[in-house]
């Protein structure tokens, strides 16, 4: 039962970072493939093979490189680099807030890519991406705050090895985090800016002007990010590693379920409901914890 914790302690930070950088895309792609398969089954179809995302990415790398302006691909390269960096920081056990801010930096590069092409669809997608980021940012920060209040540290390594179940102290924060996780995974009802494959939103939203290898890089970056987000879900249940992993996977299945059941919200509803839900669930939890300490 404690093999994961032992692994965590025995592997040095560098080894963990390396493991993340190499294994996360494989894991992320697999999760994406399972996602498509399960969604298809929900809809009564067969669905693509589980390895389909890998096929997609490999095909995209073979396409001709076309561009609208010379610098758009650079922004996506930066997005990928900083997403990998944030994820590596997270699994290395560094400060959670710093990881969040680093991820915000990656997100900013993503949005700037959408803006710099100067196309109406891309621009609208980028604006909606900013709205999405603004919608989930408070909750993500409050999650870090909540974890600090319970464990006394922002470091992921300390939080991951905390013996008491965090979920008992942070139920509201967890609920709020689940709500915005739908935004971060880009699932209905919150897939405003660029949607997964078969769903279209403003044509392709932010990724309208990106194609070929750059699109593949965006896809891979999203895989890294998904693995990191599941890691954050794991933290809530870190006292029992297998339970943590199980809940993380269950969470993803839950997200798929929500995806299948809801149509896309308007951006006003997304924005408003996220901030409101954050306030009700997250803030109340934080305040209760604050009062408990006194």
């Amino acid at each position: 039962m404690n093999t994961i914790q032992e692994m965590f302690q025995v592997w040095s930070m560098l080894e963990r970072m390396l493991a993340f950088v190499l294994l996360a895309p494989l894991l992320g792609g697999l999760i994406a493939g399972i996602d498509r398969r399960v969604s298809a089954r929900f809809q009564g179809r067969y669905g693509p093979p589980v390895l389909q995302p890998f096929y997609d990415v490999l095909k995209l790398f073979r396409k001709e490189r076309i561009i609208v302006n010379r610098f758009q691909n650079f922004t996506m390269v930066l997005f990928l680099i900083f997403t990998i960096f944030s994820g590596a920081l997270f699994f290395a056990g560094a400060d959670l807030l710093l990881t969040i801010f680093s991820l915000a930096l990656a997100g900013t590069f993503f949005v700037l890519g959408g803006f710099c092409v100067g196309s109406p669809y891309s621009h609208l997608g980028a604006e909606r991406e900013i709205i999405q980021q603004v919608a989930y940012e408070p909750m993500v920060i409050l999650m870090a705050v909540g974890m600090y209040q319970v464990t006394g540290s922002f470091k992921v390594s300390v939080i991951a090895q905390y013996q008491s179940p965090l979920i008992l102290y942070l139920p509201g924060v967890f609920a709020g985090f689940l709500y915005i996780l739908t935004i971060k995974f880009r699932k209905s009802p919150f897939d405003l800016s660029m949607s997964h494959h078969a769903h279209q939103e403003i044509v392709r939203g932010m990724t309208t002007e990106f194609s070929g290898p750059t699109l593949a890089l965006i896809e891979i970056a999203h895989w890294y990010e998904n693995v990191m987000l599941l890691g954050m879900v794991y933290l809530f249940f870190a006292f029992n590693p297998w339970l943590g992993i199980g809940i993380a996977l269950l969470t993803y299945l839950f997200e798929i379920f929500i995806d299948m059941n809801y149509a896309r919200f308007k951006w006003q509803l997304t924005f408003g409901s996220s901030w409101l839900f954050t306030a009700v669930a997250g803030v109340s939890n934080i305040i209760v914890l604050g009062l408990m300490k006194i």
Binding site: R36, A40, Q43, G44, R45, Y46, G47, P48, P49, Q52, Y55, D56, L58, K59, R62, K63, E64, R65, I66, H197, A198, Q200, V203, R204, T207, T208, E209, F210, S211, G212, L215
Partner: protein, 150 residues
């Protein structure tokens, strides 16, 4: 390696069709016929697409749009003409405003007959287009490597 065969993305364009073939194309994506099990996705964006599925006999307005869309698609790409109107204009062939089929404007690779073309035929046509896609890619690579040697 056959990645194009496993993950072809379609851009579907209606060039003055009556919508019959369009409905059949979209129906192919529904659970009954399920194109997605071949990894096929209907994207709305030419920059993401490999296959351009065109329905309808082309007229002046859609001619320019078709050319725009075709130019924005990255290589390798194939064109599938779905339905008799896209193949030759069918009963509208001699109309003054109709060009008479997609191949008057763009190089078509696969013709899918029918009015409206049946989903099974469309799936068949798209899968054939995937094979052609693979061939185009390997030819492209051969040419590139020969150019590199020069």
């Amino acid at each position: 390696m056959g990645w194009f065969k496993r993950s072809p993305w379609i851009l579907h364009y209606n060039a003055t069709s009556c919508n019959g073939c369009d409905i059949e194309v979209i129906v192919s994506l529904t659970p009954l016929y399920d194109l997605e099990r071949f990894g096929i996705i209907n994207t709305g964006n030419p920059k993401h697409a490999d296959i351009l599925a065109v329905t309808g006999s082309v007229n002046e307005k859609s001619r320019q749009v078709l050319i725009n869309l075709y130019e924005q698609m990255p290589n390798p790409k194939v064109i599938v003409a779905v339905g008799l109107c896209a193949i030759s204009g069918c009963v509208f062939q001699d109309c003054y405003n109709v060009m008479g089929g997609v191949d008057k404007v763009l190089p078509v690779d696969v013709y899918v007959p029918g009015c409206a073309a049946r989903p099974e035929a469309i799936i068949d046509g798209v899968l054939k287009a995937c094979e052609i896609l693979e061939e185009k890619y390997s030819q492209q690579k051969k040419i590139q490597s020969r150019l590199a040697k020069i």
